[in-house]
Amino acid sequence: MGATILIADDLSFMRMIQKEILTERGYTIAGEAADGREAVEKFKNLRPDLVLLDITMPNMNGLEAMRKIFKIDPHARVIMCSALGQQNLIVEAIKAGVKDFIVKPFKPERILSAIDKALKS
């Protein structure tokens, strides 16, 4: 069984695409979250190997969710998904310890190579 991944994005279409790319590669989708609060909740319960976390989400944004996740597990592997122009938020996330980031719109290869590398670390 491949590594387990939690996908957090408020757009169901985006989650669907990511899910497809990842399952095709052999990863297991641990769960999906539509906002930050849900992402933290699911992380706590599912303990996935990696989290794909969108920055812009309702209820609790990605950065806040990231902080909560690191509080639960300081060694959590988190990859941030962001839109162009969110440089500073990404840098903030890197300082907090995320492994990598992906800029939307992304190509399948990009998301896969980021996840492969992050899981190796």
Partner: protein, 702 residues
């Protein structure tokens, strides 16, 4: 300028310019906190203007040019057509730093032309828009001929060449320490993949990975978020020191979307040797551009062996508060009065007046002379003293820069800046203090996330205080970071095969951090990152300055480093003792008390004897045994109880003579191969006295 005493002129210029430059740094700090303050803008404008004019007069074109550009930018701000945003302030800070470096180089006999100003000038003009501060280096041919320096300073880095790495004092200090630790100096050129839409965060990710495995000294362009222009970060140059090249490569290449990483080993000398440290060509691979620049410079030097390249200028004048001189003056006035009084008495006696009749008057006069001379000694000493704020004033900037570089918000609290300390000590103190503060931020203070997790305020706190305590100056540096675990030091010590480490007290364990070889990178990681180069600090404080340093720590609460320093290094109150026929002086700050030891109280074999002191087992040394012979057998011994930090020891002597002041003179290395003496002194009767350096009781302890 021939005909004028060039050296004298240069010295006068440096003195004034260095003060201006220091004020510039301070005012910039104030301005950053209060950017709308028109008075401060004016002050900074005035300072750059003065620097420009003075350096132009001396013919320092590069220096003057830079000051001029800064003045232009401030002129815009003063006129209201430029807002002092972060980029402007940063570029001004960079300019001020470079100005200071140039002056330091000039002081050491170098030239301002050894510096590359292109990067800073570009920063200034970029930050201020394309107003008056247009950088001439972008188009050298357009610059006015008088200012257009033909040397490397005017030439922008060739495309594809590594960015110039200009190092400040702080960075050079980091390099010197890394070299001492035996690390390699590496320059990395990191290229972000063309297809990466966000280059700055990508470069930052590499930087962040590198910071975790090495000591990053300098990054160009700098990794300061907020205003970063993404397009600049396609190529990043990183200068770092590391114990493992492999780990560095792994950290850099483990990042996705990186097109390539080039690692070059560099020579430390290339960055450390004087002015060359600040100019890229010395360390860069040879390219057509840099070679051309050097040739040109060489030719110019040949044709004009000008005074600007004269030998180092030593500072021969000092600034003294006039009130201190007034005090001295009034004492001299009294001295003159008493001198004439005694002259009159002496005349009376020679005219046949009975000595006994003037006896009382003579004694009185002598008493006054005694008071006056000790008063003069004190007043003279006071002129050697300067306020420690000279060093402290650099810390806000240091902490600001570090805190931003590391992404750790930190409050700095300074107190006791008015405490006065001997000039000669001040100069030697700057580096160790800088080092300790850097350690605090680097390793002590946690990242905000971690602090919050540990239930602390997300902002760290570093406090530095100075105070006078008896014959000592006490400086305390405290942080509220993660502290250290003495037990992990014990494990390390036991692992290194240090005998007795199993039973060391906490104080003894913490003292190990100051041992050379103990604070290696590997150990430091074990100790949750603390103690890099603390041995260097200890050598400077205990060895050179005859002081002491003590470390206290509490896990998760923080670490406190306390320095004890003598008020002055020239005159010391000492206990005069005799060993055999030789006289020795024990500095009173190191003497706890004197004692009489009965021979039966002394236990243990010769060479490792001990006796109880305040119910604590304390080693017993004897002057005789330390310097040749043995201890004379007797039933009773006189001893001084010495202290060095938290260590105590008995020193058995043949005679306790008296307490008095001695003037310390340097001792020849030949006489002092064992490093037992901190100096010698000559008494009025011509007798030589060795001043014992009591730190030996610390060395002998292990």
């Amino acid at each position: 300028m021939s005909g004028i005493d060039e050296t004298r002129l240069r010295r006068a210029f440096l003195e004034e310019a260095e003060e201006l430059s220091q004020k510039l740094g301070e005012s910039l700090m104030e301005l950053e906190a209060d950017r709308a303050n028109a008075q401060l803008v004016n002050e900074v404008f005035r300072l750059t203007h003065s620097l420009k004019s003075e350096s132009a007069l001396m013919g320092f074109a590069t220096l003057s040019e830079l000051a001029h550009r800064m003045e232009d930018v401030l002129g815009l701000a003063r006129g209201g057509s430029l807002t002092l945003g972060k980029p402007v302030m940063d570029s001004l800070f960079a300019g001020a730093d470079l100005l200071a470096e140039m002056m330091a180089a000039i002081g050491k006999g170098g030239s301002d032309e050894d510096f590359t100003t292109a990067e800073v000038l570009q920063g200034l003009s970029a930050a201020s828009g394309n107003g008056h501060a247009r950088p001439q280096d972008a188009a050298p041919a357009q610059g006015p001929p008088a200012r257009q320096s033909a040397g490397p300073s005017g030439i922008p880095p060739a495309p594809g060449a590594p960015a110039p790495l200009m190092l400040g004092d702080f960075e050079k200090l980091q390099l010197a320490e890394a070299r001492d630790r035996g690390e390699a100096l590496l320059r990395l050129t990191v290229d972000v993949d063309e297809g990466e839409p966000m280059k700055f965060p990508r470069a930052y990710l590499v930087f962040s990975n590198l910071e975790a495995v090495s000591n990053v000294v300098k990054v160009v362009p700098p990794m300061e978020g907020e205003t970063a222009d993404d397009s600049l970060y396609g190529r990043t140059t990183v200068l770092l020191t590391s114990g493992s090249e492999e780990e560095v490569m792994k950290a850099a290449s483990g990042v996705d979307q990186i097109a390539g990483v080039k690692i070059e080993r560099c020579r430390f000398d290339a960055f450390l040797s004087g002015a060359a440290a600040s100019s890229a060509p010395a360390a860069a691979p040879e390219t057509a551009t840099t070679t051309a620049g050097q040739d040109e410079q060489a030719r110019r030097n040949e044709s004009a062996p000008d005074a600007r390249r004269a030998g180092p200028v030593e500072k021969t004048s000092i600034r003294v508060d006039t009130r201190k001189l007034d005090d001295l003056w009034s004492l001299i006035a009294e001295l003159v009065l008493h001198k004439s009084h005694i002259a009159r008495l002496s005349e009376d006696i020679s005219r046949g007046k009975d000595v006994h009749s003037v006896r009382e008057e003579l004694v009185e006069s002598f008493d006054s002379l005694d008071k006056i001379s000790s008063g003069m000694q004190q007043a003279m000493m006071d002129t050697r003293m300067i306020s420690i704020s000279v060093i402290f004033s650099k810390f806000p900037r240091l902490v600001r820069d570090l805190s931003r570089k590391l992404g750790k918000p930190v409050d700095l609290v300074l107190s006791g800046e008015d405490t006065e300390i001997d000039r000669s000590i001040v100069e030697a103190l700057s580096d160790p203090l800088t080092h300790i503060i850097r350690n605090s931020l680097d390793h002590g203070i946690e990242f905000p996330e971690e602090r919050v997790r540990r239930g602390k305020n997300d902002k760290g706190r570093v406090s530095v205080s100075a105070r006078r305590q008896g014959g000592n100056i006490v400086i305390e540096l405290e942080d509220d970071g993660r502290g250290m675990d003495p037990e992990s030091i014990r494990r390390k010590a036991v692992g290194m095969g240090m005998s007795g480490a199993e039973s060391f007290t906490e104080a003894q364990l913490l003292d190990l951090v100051f041992l050379p070889g103990f604070s290696t990178k590997e150990v430091v990681t074990d100790l949750s990152g603390r103690g890099v180069g603390m041995d260097v600090v200890a050598t400077r404080i205990r060895g050179d300055l005859k002081g002491d340093v003590v470390l206290r720590t509490e896990q998760n609460r923080g670490t406190r480093v306390t320095l004890f320093l003598p008020l002055t290094l020239t005159i010391v109150n000492a206990l005069l003792v005799r060993g055999d026929t030789q006289l020795y002086a024990l500095p009173l700050t190191d003497v706890d008390s004197t004692a009489k030891l009965v021979s039966t109280e002394i236990r243990g074999e010769e060479g490792r004897e001990s006796a109880l002191w305040m119910e604590e087992e304390t080693p017993v040394f004897s002057l005789g045994a330390l310097f040749g012979g043995g201890r004379r057998r007797a039933d009773e011994y006189f001893a001084a109880v010495l202290r060095n930090g938290d260590r105590k020891a008995y020193l058995v002597v043949d005679e306790l003579i008296e307490e008095r002041e001695v003037v310390i003179k340097p001792v020849d290395d030949l006489l002092n191969s064992q490093k037992m003496f901190s100096g010698v002194s000559v008494l009025e009767n011509g007798k030589l006295v060795f001043i014992l350096d009591t730190s030996f009781i610390r060395r002998e302890h292990f």
